[in-house]
């Protein structure tokens, strides 16, 4: 079950109004390698994990990813909420505005809606953990591109925080993989 804490994991500050940047950051809101994909992937895969530690790490990282999804949603909102029409027209956000106004919507930077086709969950914990490690690398790379694109200092700080979390998650999934491999190896000889 999830309960909701009325605070963000990180103190997000946004210094500018910038719909074009908001549109790019949506890549981590509803994109293939974004936080929603990560959260749903891990929370779905946890059922077939063979050890209590691996179930725990998928549950807890999955939960943290949803908290990151909330941070991205906040970044996008703060970047557009005060944008007048003449700051929206002529930017990539104009297409989003046509469909949604200033409301956030889970799609990628190109406007493609989120789909479960972005994730995989198989009845094989080794397969799943390799996918998870790949997911964390893809997310890290994506944050690096967004950091390059950002000219808002508050946004950049937040993106750097989120990028480092991917580095940590990669390490945890690697450790979980070692644990699951070891478990499977010992089971073989029982």
């Amino acid at each position: 079950m999830w309960i909701y804490e009325k605070k963000l994991e990180y103190p997000v500050k946004v210094d500018t109004t910038n719909p074009a940047l908001a549109q790019m950051i949506m890549e981590q809101f509803g994109g293939a390698d974004g936080e929603l994909a990560a959260g749903i992937r891990y929370l779905t895969q946890r059922f077939v994990m063979p050890t209590k530690e691996s179930i725990a790490i998928l549950t807890d990282v999955g939960t943290e990813e949803l908290a990151h999804w909330e941070i991205i949603e906040t970044l996008v909102w703060k970047l557009v909420k005060d944008a007048p029409l003449d700051k929206i027209k002529g930017t990539p956000f104009e297409a989003h505005f046509a469909a949604h106004g200033r409301s956030p919507f889970p799609g990628n930077a190109g406007g493609h809606p989120w789909t479960a086709a972005y994730i995989q969950s198989k009845d094989d914990p080794i397969t799943n953990l390799y996918e998870d490690m790949a997911a964390e690398q893809k997310a890290r790379s994506t944050y690096e591109y967004l950091i390059q694109l950002s000219d808002d200092p508050g946004v950049t700080d937040t993106l750097k925080f989120l990028r480092e979390r991917e580095v940590v998650h990669f390490q945890r999934f690697g450790e979980a993989l070692m644990g699951v491999q070891e478990y499977k190896d010992t089971k073989k000889y029982l």
Partner: protein, 97 residues
């Protein structure tokens, strides 16, 4: 972006001037517990990590109690009691801070 407050190891400043200051302290301590929680998930027998997790959790509870007494529940669904009128809807939403 983050204030350079001097951190008192094991001691929590119990007087916070405003909503944002208290929320920031909670974010700092809770983040430490998140990172330690993940470490413990893959290292459940690490006693040092467990001690640190418990230490930060105790301090976090004090901060959350201070929040609750001043502003009402920080989380929903029975996490903490509320005064009247219903405080949960009154406090700022995270994107409003």
């Amino acid at each position: 972006m983050i204030e350079d407050n001097k951190e008192n190891y094991g001691e929590v400043n119990s007087e916070h001037t405003n909503y944002e200051d208290l929320l920031l302290e909670i974010q700092k301590f809770e983040f430490a517990t998140v990172d330690l929680n993940l470490f413990l998930d893959t290292h459940p027998d690490n006693q040092r990590a467990l001690n640190d997790y418990n230490m930060y959790t105790v301090e976090l509870s004090k901060l959350k109690k201070e929040y609750r007494l001043k502003f009402g529940p920080l989380a929903n669904f029975g996490s903490a009691p509320s005064m009247s009128p219903w405080q949960w809807v009154e406090t700022p939403w995270p994107w409003e801070v």
